[in-house]
């Protein structure tokens, strides 16, 4: 169980920029990565991808999600989940030290997990990652036992999450502690066991990491330094890459890819992402309380055309609520573009004379989000659906769509969700279980189906992987038919990389991993 072999699609879904044979690899050099946003905190209080990708180099997790989609032990040596899925015993690797020289052992791990799960510390991801953890016991200096309140199989996946990277307890104390809500002051200079040590952070500008010469792993880091530079403008990021001032440019605009394709000094890497983009319907409000209307919208939107024209083919049209990079993914029924069928369903629902609706969407948050919304508006008009677009900046948007059901005026909203633990539970439970209606969770359309609820709950406790996968498949088939979303696509990550860079991994969880990368000079 602890080395689940994921389906072949999962292997394809993680793009590793190929590591050349080891004789070509050189040591030394500084790799400069340009990205659009700076990190906020490098502590347990992290809440977004720019935090996760830096932390992944400095602090390590007990287990890791490999580029080909397996879960492997990292700081752990092995684990065993009891038959009732309520106790997990973890043996730790011996002889690992934090960057400050203190030992990583069972006591250090317990300190970390206890801090994370203590409600008084108000860690943002506490409930979602370790909400089911009821006790941590030190068995001996290299063994820890985790007790769960309820059977919870996804725990292993959750322990791969970067926000659960293990920090040096001594360094946290010396650094003045991690205080809510931002993990200050320690969160500015983390100390872990990873292949790179934290060196410097100039806010809004750069984060510098340096090689950990004493790294415990058999594969050693080669680069002297990794620099994460903040370059907010995507056009400038591309130009800095072309000028050779940075080696890697994250999140390249799709329209730039054809121009860059002819440049021999660099390549454009297309890696899939576990982020799924959708329009959620408020199923408690007219007209989307009628499943036929929701299905009609799914039929009336030509998702393939949007993927090709607006996104230059840089996305994958959804055939399930989660993407192939996630364990538990299975292809479900889909809604091919069919205008006649859409009109027919609308007529059956009593809307043959057309409907007027308002759709909320953010701008600048997801790849080409506003143009996509405009394209959908045009396509729906063909089916007799008159859609008014309400474009909102992100903060306002979250506030509008996050109101409780009795105050929520939103009819439909555009959102994305990244299933970053690589397990279906994370991608389905928070979004479709009825206990997760906003503001308690992320079910912002107030979808409720007792059958789906039951399946998602059962799957959490099912230790047999085959049976568990079947439960998710069944739940997703029901969700697809109920159509609480307009299912759009999963995003791709477009990354510009200079030729001299080797061994870089653009992970499906939207992190850039340069742990064992090198620069050919």
């Amino acid at each position: 169980m602890h080395k689940r072999v994921f389906p072949i699609l999962l292997a394809l879904s993680v793009a590793a920029i190929m590591v050349l044979p080891s004789f070509a690899q050189q040591t030394g050099g500084t790799l400069i990565i340009g990205r659009g946003a700076d990190s906020v905190t490098l502590s347990f209080y992290a809440s977004a991808a720019p935090d996760a990708e830096v932390m992944g180099h400095v602090v390590e997790t007990l287990f890791r999600l490999t580029p080909d989609g397996k879960i492997e032990p990292l700081l752990a040596e092995s684990q065993r989940l009891s038959a009732d899925a309520k106790t997990m015993t973890i043996r730790l690797r011996r002889g690992i030290r934090f960057h400050d020289g203190t030992a990583f052992d069972a006591a250090a791990l317990k300190w970390n997990l206890d801090f994370f799960r203590n409600p008084a510390n108000a860690v943002p991801f506490r409930a979602i990652l370790l909400g089911e953890l009821s006790d941590v016991t030190v068995v001996d200096s290299n063994t820890v036992q985790l007790s769960l309140a309820r059977p919870f199989v996804p725990l292993l996946s959750h322990l791969t999450h970067n926000f659960l990277g293990i920090h040096s307890p001594a360094a946290v104390e010396r650094g003045g502690g991690m205080r809510p809500p931002t993990g200050e002051p320690y969160g500015r200079a983390p100390v872990g066991t990873g292949p790179f040590k934290f060196k410097e952070w100039v806010r809004g500008d750069r984060i510098v990491l340096e090689r950990n010469p004493d790294y415990w792993g058999s594969e050693k880091p080669r680069l002297d330094q990794i620099v994460f530079r903040t370059i907010p403008d995507s056009g400038a990021r591309v130009l800095a890459l072309e000028a050779g001032q940075i080696h890697v440019a994250r999140a390249i605009p799709p329209r730039e890819t054809s121009r860059l394709a002819v440049n021999r000094a660099l390549r454009v890497d297309r890696a899939p992402s576990v982020r799924t983009i959708f329009f959620g319907f408020n199923v408690t409000k007219k007209p989307f309380d009628d499943v036929r209307v929701r299905q009609a919208v799914n039929y009336a939107v030509n998702k393939r055309a949007i993927a090709q024209t607006i996104l230059g083919g840089a996305v994958r049209v959804s055939d399930a609520p989660i993407s192939p990079g996630v364990w538990g993914y299975a292809q479900t029924m889909t809604y091919p573009y069919d205008l006649q069928k859409a009109k027919q369903l609308l007529a059956e629902a009593g809307y043959s004379s057309g409907i007027s609706v308002t759709i909320h969407h953010p701008t600048g948050r997801y790849l080409e989000d506003a143009p996509i919304a405009a394209a959908i508006q045009a396509q729906l008009r063909e089916a007799g659906i008159n859609m008014r677009l309400a474009t909102l900046e992100w903060a306002t948007y979250l506030a509008f769509t996050g109101r409780p059901v009795d105050q929520n005026e939103v009819q439909a909203y555009m959102l994305g969700w990244g299933t970053v633990t690589g397990d279906a539970d994370y991608g389905l439970f928070s979004l479709f279980h009825s206990s997760q209606w906003t503001p308690a969770g992320f079910n912002r359309g107030f979808y409720k189906n007792p059958q789906v609820d039951a399946l998602l709950e059962q799957a959490r406790g099912e230790t047999d992987a085959t049976k568990r996968a079947a439960m998710y498949k069944q739940a997703m088939d029901i969700i697809m038919k109920d159509a609480p979303w307009l299912f759009l696509h999963s995003e791709s990550q477009l990354t510009g990389v200079r030729r001299e860079v080797q061994g870089l991994i653009v992970h499906v969880t939207e992190r850039m991993m340069a742990h064992f990368a090198s620069l050919n000079r």
Binding site: G34, V40, T41, S47, A48, P119, A122, V123, P124, F125, R126, A127, I128, R179, P180, P181, T182, G183, E184, P185, G187, R188, V202, R203, G204, D205, R229, T230, I231, P232, D233, G235, A236, L239, A240, E242, A243, G244, Q245, I246, E393, W394, A395, T396, L398, A399, F400, G402, W417, S430, P439, A440, G441, F442
Partner: protein, 306 residues
């Protein structure tokens, strides 16, 4: 002069107090909850509530304002809601970068704008005049994004003469200061031209020429000095605008200054950073206005402040 200066500076306080009230109330009226943004997409209601309480955002606005005012008078602008860094520290780190960029840009603008304006005025209605005015029009209307990215494309990507982004050395300063200074240069050129045209028609200029003073001296000493009053006013206002942070230029050149800090803070609803930055900008404008008024007295002996 000194009593006048003291009076002007005293008058700044009510202005700044007014600014602080307006900003404080306005950012709390717009929708969007910093606690929810901080907690991230996956957070539960309980986490968001916890954050709101720990930041004191659950207290009445009037109480929050009183706390803010008391702390500000003690030179404590609070801490960023987002990363916990003290606002004064954040501003102290970013203001010198913005100041460097603003000063370089205004120097570029003056060095281009004033000679261009003089040239244009002295060759009134010639092709030189038309060319300068067309260029000036282009300078004001060129979008900063377009100009900045094109300068990077030519000088960093094609010619490899200058770095594309960053703020470390004097070389990094060249492209952004041209990008940012272009519009100001155009405005200064137009202002210099019209002021010079007016002065050149004055009797004392005709008298100077009549008594055989060299043309250079007529332009430089007799005309330009008298034409400078409106030009100085424009330069002062432009410098204020540049110092309050050139958001677009800072974004294009990855120049982490005050402008970007403010925009990021608005998007994140980082109240203390917004308040601190706006107060800083307001103070800058008020002080620059005083400096410009003082400069009048230096330029024109008839102006005296009692």
């Amino acid at each position: 002069m000194l009593p006048y200066l003291a009076k002007r500076i005293m008058l700044a306080f009510p202005v700044l107090l007014g600014v602080s009230v307006v900003v404080f109330v306005m950012i709390r009226l717009i929708p969007g909850d910093p606690a929810e943004l901080m907690a991230g997409q996956a957070a539960t209601e309980e986490v968001v509530r916890g954050i709101r309480e720990s930041l004191g955002l659950d207290r009445p606005v009037i109480v929050q304002y009183a706390v803010f005012l008391r702390n500000t008078l003690r030179a404590d602008l609070g801490k960023s809601l987002f990363n916990g860094a003290p606002v004064t520290e954040e501003l102290a780190q970013r203001l010198p970068r913005t100041a460097r960029l603003a000063l370089a840009s205004i120097v570029v603008a003056i060095l281009i704008g004033v000679p261009a304006g003089i040239l244009s005025a002295t060759r009134h209605l010639s092709w030189v005049d038309s060319a300068v005015m067309v260029l000036a029009l282009a300078g004001v209307s060129m979008p900063i994004f377009w100009l900045g990215l094109n300068l990077i494309l030519v000088f960093a990507v094609r010619l490899h003469w200058l770095p594309a982004i960053g703020h470390e050395t004097w070389k990094h300063l060249i492209l952004p200061s041209f990008t940012l200074g272009a519009a100001s240069a155009a405005i200064i050129a137009r202002m210099t031209r019209s002021a010079m045209l007016e002065v050149l028609r004055q009797d004392y200029v005709r008298t100077a020429r009549a008594k055989g003073v060299a043309e250079q001296t007529v332009i430089g000493r007799h005309a330009l000095r008298n034409a400078l009053i409106p030009v100085v006013t424009v330069v002062g206002l432009q410098l204020g605008t540049l110092l309050s942070g050139a958001v677009l230029t800072e974004s294009v050149f990855a120049w982490p200054g005050v402008g970007r800090l403010l925009v990021d803070a608005v998007l994140a609803r980082d109240y203390p950073i917004i308040q601190g930055t706006v107060l800083l900008i307001a103070t800058t404008f008020v002080l620059l206005n005083v400096v410009v008024d003082m400069a009048y007295a230096v330029l024109d002996p008839r102006i005296r402040y009692e």
